[in-house]
């Protein structure tokens, strides 16, 4: 039973979905916002990390005596200064806790930290790195998953046969029988690249360990609670003796809710030296030594009827896990699940294998495996429609999820607006009329989760909590564990609080990003906060309002059948809104009534019995208009329309920002952000060679917001912002397919792939009569 009450929201919201300004505005546009990058503490030292030049090697000996003699160097730390704890975020599964950060025995990827120096200036710390001598025994290395599973491949982690790190299996229906029913079967192989999070603020931490055994860490992260728990584990400390402060965070995108080299090495150094130590990654370090989006190899076999009804799908996926697990196990699971979205499959089977290699570990990144899944699924579906001569929108539509649908054994879809999304995109396409000859439109549908039901972190706490405290002047302290990383979480929580309590947005002060003062919350990942933290805030505000109104009821003399409410700071009977009084008066009465104690409301949320993945799903269909120069293969994005269902939008400006921002990141995954590796080394670890989309390349991002109501979400809300990273790569691929007939199997798309595709197609067209990849029955 849920512990909060969802009521039918009033259609005239005072704060929700209005033009509310982001509440961190003044700090962020005036330079007052202090990020970890800016933090300076008294007596602080600067830390630098020495990194492995080898992809796979035993550490035989580390000699840092010369470094210690350099004037200004205060100390050096290596794996020997740690407890040697193998940590990981999947705490419930000890095998998957495989990373020491400062390894004791061996290194497994180029760039892995091996030693850390603390000095009185950054320059001296950097010089000291050159004075550390390390004896390595270089071991054979392997870089590709299909090579790493061979019998003679080097063993990267002891006990993991054939370097298979995690396997995942999802299945429903009788898949063999479902394939028997199919009248057309197609199989394709795909390759999905990695991607760098490229947060504008690189990894940064300032750790301060004091003689009373307490550790304070300023850290750029997506979950102060996770950092607190993980650091306690690796340092052998109590969680309560560690304070994580993350007031302003310069972006996360899925890369900052695990321990990184900055927080770990600065804490180990500080614990050794009893002085604050600051470590900030250079942009190059951020590229080579922070986990990336998971590269994947997909095999997809799909069977449909000639009229386009979906029958069966079978997918087999290998992911390049890199040297450690990170969040890669979850990416492996989610990619297989969202590969089925947003469609009904009578028979569906997914087998996923995550393989260790001696490369940069791969982990979660906005979309969490779904952008890869859609790259494959949405393109193959488009090709099937073309093979059968069917309309791609109609074919998708007839097979889509609907409200009430049960993904067998996995999820109940309680709200779904995808059908209207098809209508909106059809309208948009029609409005464009005939396109110029060098342009084409591609589509992609998808769906995404609003937070996960899993507790692999093994927390005993509610997934989200909130506390509302009302001051004597009516202002409100809202304490949340939800983490602001730029997505607008502080503002969204303030909006929900203000709407529920019945006050104005400027009455709310949000406290977040400090484990000393805020309740635990799993943090900003998996698109969970609007639904989960939002529900906790709503419950807390309802609790506070109920307590306040007790005093109003007591003095109102109202008949029991009448209800009071507060709206826009106005206490009134719902039946007679014109009669009432100011909320401020009620607050003062309540304070006196409670013996001078402020009213405190508490709220929390944990999903119970909500399927295997998520309590709620958002849906969308995206169309992208693409122009391609046939001579150079260069892509230009001209226009885009996304029809989107996120239930009830809460933060209007935030939603637009999330949609436009997600598009820019997804477009990068589609055609710009290539990460070439050679023998385990990243070839473009800088912003000259790693292509980021610029203001001159971003097209208009039109939005059609479909209104639905999600019963599990606060006021009917679902996620918005991560799901939107999923469709774009496939939409771009489909645009190219429609213009040229080429079927691109690898992303990000590079110009030479288009040019080669065109050449191949010209050759194929010449030798007409060659078999198509699909098998007709």
């Amino acid at each position: 039973m849920n512990k909060y009450t969802v009521i039918n929201p009033p259609s005239d919201f005072k704060v929700i979905n209005t033009h509310v300004h982001n509440i961190d505005g003044v700090a962020k546009v005036t330079g007052r916002a202090t990020y970890t990058f800016d933090v300076k503490l008294p007596n602080m030292l600067y830390g630098k990390i020495l990194r492995s030049p080898h992809p796979h090697a035993k550490i035989l000996n580390i000699d840092y005596n010369k470094a210690l003699q350099l004037r200004g160097v205060i100390g050096v730390a290596t794996g020997k200064d740690t407890l040697g704890v193998k940590q990981g975020i999947w705490r419930r599964y000890q095998d998957l806790c495989d990373e020491q950060i400062l390894p004791v025995d061996k290194v497994r990827y180029i760039g892995e930290p091996v030693a850390a120096v603390a000095a009185i200036t950054e320059e001296i710390a950097e010089q000291a790195l050159n004075l550390i001598d390390i004896d390595y025994e270089v071991l054979p290395a392997v870089y590709e998953p299909m090579e790493a599973i061979k019998k003679d491949a080097p063993e990267i982690h002891e006990g993991f046969e054939r370097n298979i790190n995690v396997t995942r299996h999802i299945e429903w229906g009788d898949v063999e029988e479902a394939f028997e029913e199919a009248e057309y079967i197609r199989e394709d192989w795909f390759k999905c690249g990695g991607q760098a999070h490229m947060c504008m603020e690189t990894r940064a931490a300032v750790s301060d360990y004091t003689p009373d055994g307490k550790l304070t860490i300023y850290h750029s992260n997506q979950s102060p609670y996770y950092m607190q728990g993980l650091m306690a584990g690796v340092l052998g400390m109590r969680e309560g003796d560690i304070r994580i402060i993350s007031t302003y965070v310069g972006g996360g995108f899925g890369g900052k809710f695990e321990l990184d080299g900055a927080i770990f090495c600065s804490a180990v150094l500080s614990k050794k030296l009893f002085r604050p130590v600051k470590i900030v990654f250079t942009r190059e370090e951020d590229f080579i030594a922070t986990k990336r989006r998971t590269p994947m190899f997909y095999y997809v076999r799909t069977g449909v009827k000639k009229d386009g009804t979906f029958c069966a799908r079978e997918a087999k996926v290998f992911t390049n896990g890199g040297a450690y697990t990170g969040m890669g196990a979850t990416a492996l699971y989610l990619t297989g699940f969202f590969h089925s979205f947003p469609y009904r499959w009578p028979g569906y089977r997914y087998d996923g294998y995550r393989v260790y290699t001696n490369t940069l570990p791969s982990t979660s990144m906005r979309g969490f495996g779904a952008p890869q899944a859609m790259w494959c699924s949405e393109q193959q579906i488009e090709w099937i429609a073309a093979d059968l001569g069917l309309d791609p929108i109609d074919m998708r539509r007839k097979n889509s999820h609907y409200e009430g649908y049960e993904v067998p054994g996995q999820a109940t879809i309680a709200s779904c607006g995808i059908d209207q999304c098809y209508d909106e995109i059809k309208k948009w396409i029609a409005s464009k009329g005939k396109l110029p000859p060098n342009r084409s439109i591609g589509l992609s549908a998808c769906g995404f989760m609003s937070g996960g039901i899993f507790n692999w972190f093994d927390t005993p706490y509610s997934f989200s909590s909130a506390v509302v405290t009302i001051n004597q002047d009516g202002t409100v302290e809202l304490h949340v564990g939800a983490q602001e990383i730029g997505q607008g979480s502080n503002t969204t929580m303030a909006i929900i609080c203000a709407e529920t309590l019945g006050v104005k947005i400027e009455d709310i002060k949000v406290h977040s990003g400090d484990t000393d003062h805020c309740p635990p919350d799993l943090g900003a990942w998996g698109s969970r906060q609007t639904l989960m933290s939002g529900n906790a805030v709503k419950m807390a505000a309802e609790d506070a309002k109920k307590q306040l109104l007790e005093f109003a009821y007591a003095q109102s003399g109202l008949n029991i059948v009448y209800d009071l409410d507060i709206k826009d700071r106005w206490v009134h009977a719902i039946a007679r809104p014109e009669r009432g009084y100011d909320y401020g008066e009620l607050v003062k009465k309540a304070l006196r009534g409670k013996d001078g104690q402020r009213i405190v409301g508490r709220g929390y949320y944990t999903p119970h019995r909500k399927g295997m993945i998520s309590p709620a799903y958002s849906y969308m269909l995206q169309g992208v208009e693409v122009e391609v120069d046939e001579e150079t293969g260069k892509i230009k994005l001209v226009d885009t329309m996304t029809a989107h269902d996120c239930g009830q939008p809460i933060n209007h400006l935030g939603l637009i920002g999330q949609l436009e921002g997600a598009f820019s990141m997804a477009a990068g995954y589609g055609y710009l952000e290539y990460m070439p590796y050679e023998d385990g080394k990243l070839m473009n670890p800088n912003l000259v060679d790693y292509k980021m989309i610029r203001a001159t390349e971003m097209p208009p991002a039109n939005i059609a917001e479909i209104d639905t109501y999600e019963p599990e979400g606060p006021y009917g809300a679902k996620e918005a912002g991560e799901g939107l990273t999923n469709p774009t790569a496939a939409a771009i691929g489909n645009a190219l397919f429609h213009r040229f007939g080429i079927q691109l199997k690898e992303c990000p798309i590079r110009p030479e792939m288009i040019l080669n595709g065109l050449k191949e197609k010209a050759g194929q067209d010449k030798a007409a009569g060659k078999d198509k990849p699909g098998k007709k029955k």
């Binding site: 054939r162 298979i164 299945e171 079978e314 087999k316």
Partner: protein, 81 residues
């Protein structure tokens, strides 16, 4: 058909209790005891896993299901005798 099959390693009845569901359960669990049982039948757990991943169809699960079925029949016969 016979009685529902329970896992010879951990005693669990997987889903419908069919041999193939039990095979799925064994691969899904993938821990040492389950792997050892598969290898003890003369199969290679890892090779079956890789075959499942790299070829279309369900051959690995079907093959393992056959062995699980045989083992269940053997146990049932031993009980009777």
């Amino acid at each position: 058909m016979g009685d529902p099959i329970i896992c010879p390693v951990c005693g669990k009845k997987a889903k419908t209790g069919s041999a193939i569901d039990c095979a799925r359960h064994m691969f899904g669990t993938g821990d040492k005891p389950h792997r050892q049982w598969v290898d003890a039948q003369g199969l290679s757990f890892i090779d079956l896993l890789i075959e499942q991943a790299t070829t279309p169809g369900n051959k690995s699960y079907e093959l393992l299901a056959e062995y699980i079925e045989k083992d269940a029949q053997k146990k049932a016969a031993e009980k009777k005798g």
